[in-house]
Symmetry: D2
């Protein structure tokens, strides 16, 4: 019945999408099939075809699809009619989440933070963080960094570098000043020195910021990695200029880099941290903004939202904390696979000395930077045809991003990397490799 019908492809299983769903879809274009079910590192489409998942919900499925422990807890909870939707009311599930989050995650790391349930999407968590920072410091400006991605609602989008998203806003985006991320001005320049200079100069034109917001690894921005030194220097600049440090750990957090928080070994203490994506562990919408208790200056209800109490997510998040984070096993495993990934990607890259291939990233947040978006796009399209779901990121979509589940087995990981290498070979030739 839609006017779009005329454009519909004939393939039976996609026409309702052609007919009814907006052209705003993006991943759906890269993976032209209809998925039906999933387990661990695998997706299955309606025809039963199996795909290895190196996308993992864009970093949302760190524990894989439908992890059995989390699934069983969720089924129990639903079966016993646990509260599903709880606004911001106290519930049993939230109580367990808070306790476990404190006992398993925060307390062992000596982190004293208050939790705000912000609405269950990353952009909500970022909007809350910005409001809080602006109100605490009574200043409107926030420092963000080149190639940063923090969401697409107007407040968060102002801090998102991507012009494709920015231009869609239809209004100028204000209240944010962009500064060069680590490495942006070349390997020898510490860009926090430039930031410090700008902030120390009362005529630089940069209004005194309330805060700086930063990702330790820029997931959407192309897997750019901030060094621990740079992060420490950034924190120093924030302290010197009386600004809050906000770490947006939405993609890099929850274990992706080899520790729960991506900044754990860096010796910094962010004032505000945003978490989402893999926080529920099961792919359910969930986000929190956590901050030092002295910054809990919210008045009741100042930031609200209908779905702040997605209790199913509390249940699976609690289960994930219990299952994966009570000891070092999981983390060690992630670190090992991260090294494996690093070695494998670098090895692929070395085979193509003339093609600008480069391994990038940290922990299990890694990828292969290509000469341009066209090459990367060819690789991921080939990969899909070979049963590997994988995507690009970066300002020119030039980085093939390996965001496999952290729970992937080594064999699965190697199989995926083997497929990836064969795709690279089909696109760029066999390179200089001897075997």
């Amino acid at each position: 019945m839609s006017s779009k019908t005329a454009l519909a492809v004939t393939a039976e299983n996609t026409d309702i999408f052609e007919e009814m769903e907006s052209s705003v879809q993006s991943y759906a274009l890269s993976f032209p099939t209809t998925f039906d079910r999933a387990e661990g590192a695998y997706l299955f489409d309606q025809k039963g075809k199996k795909y290895l998942d190196f996308l993992a919900g864009a970093g949302t499925l760190n524990y894989g699809h439908n992890h059995p422990f989390l699934k069983s807890r969720l089924l129990d909870y639903i079966s016993r009619d646990g509260i599903t939707h709880g606004l911001d009311m106290h519930t049993d599930a939230k109580e367990n989440f808070l306790k476990t989050f404190d006992e398993v995650i925060l307390a062992p790391r000596k982190m004293n933070y208050v939790v705000q349930f912000t609405g269950p999407t990353g952009t909500n968590a970022v909007e809350a963080a910005f409001k809080l920072a602006r109100n605490i410091k009574r200043r409107h400006n926030i420092i963000s960094f080149t190639n940063g991605f923090h969401g697409v609602s107007v407040g968060a989008m102002a801090a998102t570098g991507n012009s494709h998203h920015r231009n869609a806003s239809g209004i100028p985006l204000g209240g944010v000043t962009f500064m060069p991320y680590d490495g942006y001005m070349g390997p020898d320049v510490d860009t926090t020195e430039y930031l410090d200079k700008i902030l120390s100069d009362s005529s630089s034109g940069i209004d005194h910021p309330a805060a700086a917001v930063v990702e330790t690894v820029q997931g959407e921005g192309g897997l750019n990695v901030a060094s621990a030194d740079w992060m420490r220097n950034l924190e120093k600049v924030c302290r010197k200029h009386d600004m809050l440090l906000i770490v947006d750990d939405i993609q890099a957090g929850c274990g992706r880099t080899g520790s729960f928080f991506s900044f754990e070994d860096m010796g910094i203490e962010p004032d505000i941290i945003t978490l989402s994506k893999s926080l529920s562990g099961y792919g359910l919408p969930f986000a929190v903004t956590i901050f030092k208790p002295e910054y809990d200056m919210w008045k009741p209800g100042e930031h609200n939202g209908t779905f702040r109490g997605n209790n199913h997510a509390f249940v699976t998040a609690t289960a994930a904390f219990e299952h994966f984070w009570q000891n070092e096993r999981f983390v060690n495993d992630v670190r090992n696979k991260g090294k494996l990934l690093e070695v494998a990607l670098n090895k692929i890259a070395r085979n193509y000395p003339d093609d600008d291939l480069m391994g990038k990233g940290r922990g299990m947040m890694r990828g292969l930077s290509c000469a341009n978006g066209e090459v990367a796009s060819k690789i991921v399209r080939k990969a899909f045809s070979k049963g590997l779901v994988i995507e690009t990121s970066g300002s020119e979509s030039q980085v093939v991003k390996c965001l496999c589940p952290l729970t992937i087995t080594e064999d699965e990981l190697l199989a995926g990397l083997f497929t990836l290498r064969s795709c690279v070979e089909e696109v760029l030739g066999t390179g200089t490799a001897q075997g």
Copy 2:
């Protein structure tokens, strides 16, 4: 371990909340207990105390808590490892949702709309609607109405009237002009005439808007009701001035007023409609923005978000369409209970001719307007002590809002109203009633 510990109440079951959760909570302050499970119109706390729910997730639980048909579908889906998190990829669950939404909801109403999955919260849907309208018309301004509520991310909040929320933004909110809602200038003034005058006057200072956004009943704004005439006139003004009409049906939609869309009998054709809250039917985070196909001018990925593919919500939403919307039974039932509510609230109000009590609202979106917020607050606090969960709305929190599940039985509804009446009596005296 938190510095908040000092403030913690001794009550054992709330101290993790005192210790760990931000002071931004609001509902939790009104209902000081910890809820554990829920069924239909009832909530149960950890001590087993039973509460009748006249809040229903602020309009999110139109079919009550954990409806057995939806629950069973959800359990099956989870059990069979259906896709949980699907980004914007095509999935079996999304296919079923789209088909059923079209067959059961849109097609029978001769509505031809494209669906955008915007991220699963209402504010996301509104942000998407505004972007789309601004880009279609290449204008930045949007008309919103006094006492309107559309969310608290910066883009949506610009259209939200409430100063408590607005002031929390920490930056001036732009791109929106507020106009008086139906009835704002008194019963005899059609405020769309003022809007038309302002828009016809090239020196009014109001920049030509891309769109107007409106709720047919203002849920958070205090249950103010727009008449069908006014809505038609608003649509005419939009057509005359080449503006899009956006109906935010997030709270009033999904059956709350006695039809799926709140504007069905009004003879208008909104260009863009936002839906969320009760859309999943089960309280799961879900939102869509739907619009006429000719306005599907999105480029791939311009608006994105991690949780656009919350497939659990697709499953329960589909089940809800099937269960409640295939025939007129549910709607007729809602209308009958709406009338019952209206009569009962008016009867209470009439008992207090000197107390400014007034029944307000439409369908099962009704409440009791009190002289001020203090009176309303006393009533809802008393109600909670009597096992009735109910909240206020309005700019001064002066309206006691009855948002019971649409599936509530008549007996439950009458029981709740009886409790409400007794609370009113305790607060205002017995009034003039004879029995």
Copy 3:
């Protein structure tokens, strides 16, 4: 040499303008000749043709062109090498200006105000007023009124209603909310009640303003007149809501309405007043913002500008105070001519009962409102061909505006009105008049 040469008309005396001057010119299009000199109420072009001036520099030449007393003072000052350009330094000329302004204007009216030299244009004075108000109240919003005109720099333009100017800004204009001016909603509606309601409603969407800015007569807006009652009510609303009242007296001040300040008989005490246009008395660039001493919260140099010390203007302004404002003679004369104007314009209007003609305005700030801009435009074009320089104003340029010098003789005034009437007759026919 310009690429515009090709378009140049052949008329010898205009081609340098065609070749070199931007198409942004407007008055020059209405009066296609080159003026050479001027005296009193008359302009003379290069060919010696004489024009009666009913435009008077858009209200800048209240004392006519090149008034001999002011001219003689200015010649003396220049001849003796008085300071011409003084930044904001203390000079003899500024000292005399301040003393005379106090003795002749402020003190007799019991007005205690501090003077800020803001840069010599009206828009500068308005920008300064807005900054001051926003900083005093620590709020960003300012109330302006439909059809208001306050200048075209970005800060002032935000408060200017005209869309032709607003659209030229190239960016959205923020920080201002427009409200209906006196009479905008019909003669029976006191629009300050709407303003009060909006400001009293914490969910109206209107952020608490720092100030309201208003013209008592809207010069550019079409000679709309605010009543004394309305102005008093506006002041009350400002007091009630802790807002400053800014009267922009740039066009209506300096005697135009029959008193030095346009609001003198209204019983109000604006917190901030802007003056410019006829302030120098001689057409020289000059503007001040004056405010109650308790609001002088400026830090040194916060608002600056190169031409704040245009000492020639100080000299002529001082001379004008001395010559015109030491007794009641001038004011009485203006009032009498204002009445004459009123009677004459109303008489013309009455002759055309079917043509929507209407006399408008106050004092010697009056005009003839026509059915539309086309009629008004025809009238002023005919007038120019008959040696009368006169312009339109209003949102549709529908008002023929008589802004003759206040010093015009009655004979000159009658001659101009006679010409105007004959132009009306040529455009609309002889009407119903019998003689």
Copy 4:
């Protein structure tokens, strides 16, 4: 009568200023006397004390005070009742200005530009330039540079770096992105490369700008000088990224650097140029924005203002073009004195190897950078006590700025420099100099 009276100093000749003038004054604080008349390079106060003027109206009096040739022309024009105030109408004086500007200034330099009379202050010219650029390119963003100064009305102030001015705006300033000026990142970094990188990166967060605005020498910013190479590179970046190049030549233009336009020898062709300050030559308010004819996309009246036709300024500007710019004599003289200044300032600086003294600037726009604002402030205060009027600039007011009239005689210049050196000696000791 003012409440400020209590604070008034007893000195008779300043109390009207204490009583009546706002605390926003700045220069007046540095030069606590009342000036009465001026000639050439000298100011005289009411007591007859003579001051050598090394401030020259902050660069407005390039030809000195009350230059006799300009004065005589102005007296003649006023005496013969030439048009004083002409809105934007064609006048004899404007005709002469345009012809002479073309013949003497533009044509010999092969510059083909259209002239917009923007309102007579620099900030007006900048506001017009920004509007034009934004409308031509249909983009809101403009690149400005650290330490740039372009005025204090909201539109221009957004591009002004100084936080003292910015903070006074009371609202966030948008639509401008600041980039590092030449030399800001050290002598070896070409900051246009960073600009190019940012603009080439679609995820840098910097919205595609309509234009870049730049001063070749930053007068208020502390006499920072852009090299010709840097300016050419900036132009290249603008061309590459389809942006307009706006040169704000308000302070550096009109001969100050040794040529009429400050960029004449740089091999660049700005799209838009702003001129003001010394344009009238006599200190009268005057500003123009000139641009390439293909960019004259203004619609009539889109940018307006009461004082765009300050004909007195047209007369003196024309006289200045005729007197100073018909041959190379004046320019050569300025260049010679510029070299003398350079040598003298460097010599002073070299005497204080441990005090961070440094000569800065270009042409006759030079100064002495001190270790901090306190040192600079002591020097200028001492200078005033010795009869030398001189001021500081720079973000910390750390640069003593020598902006003497370009017409100063060598003897006067040397006398002033001698005084300056003695002040430095009094503040910093005699240094290492031998005589």
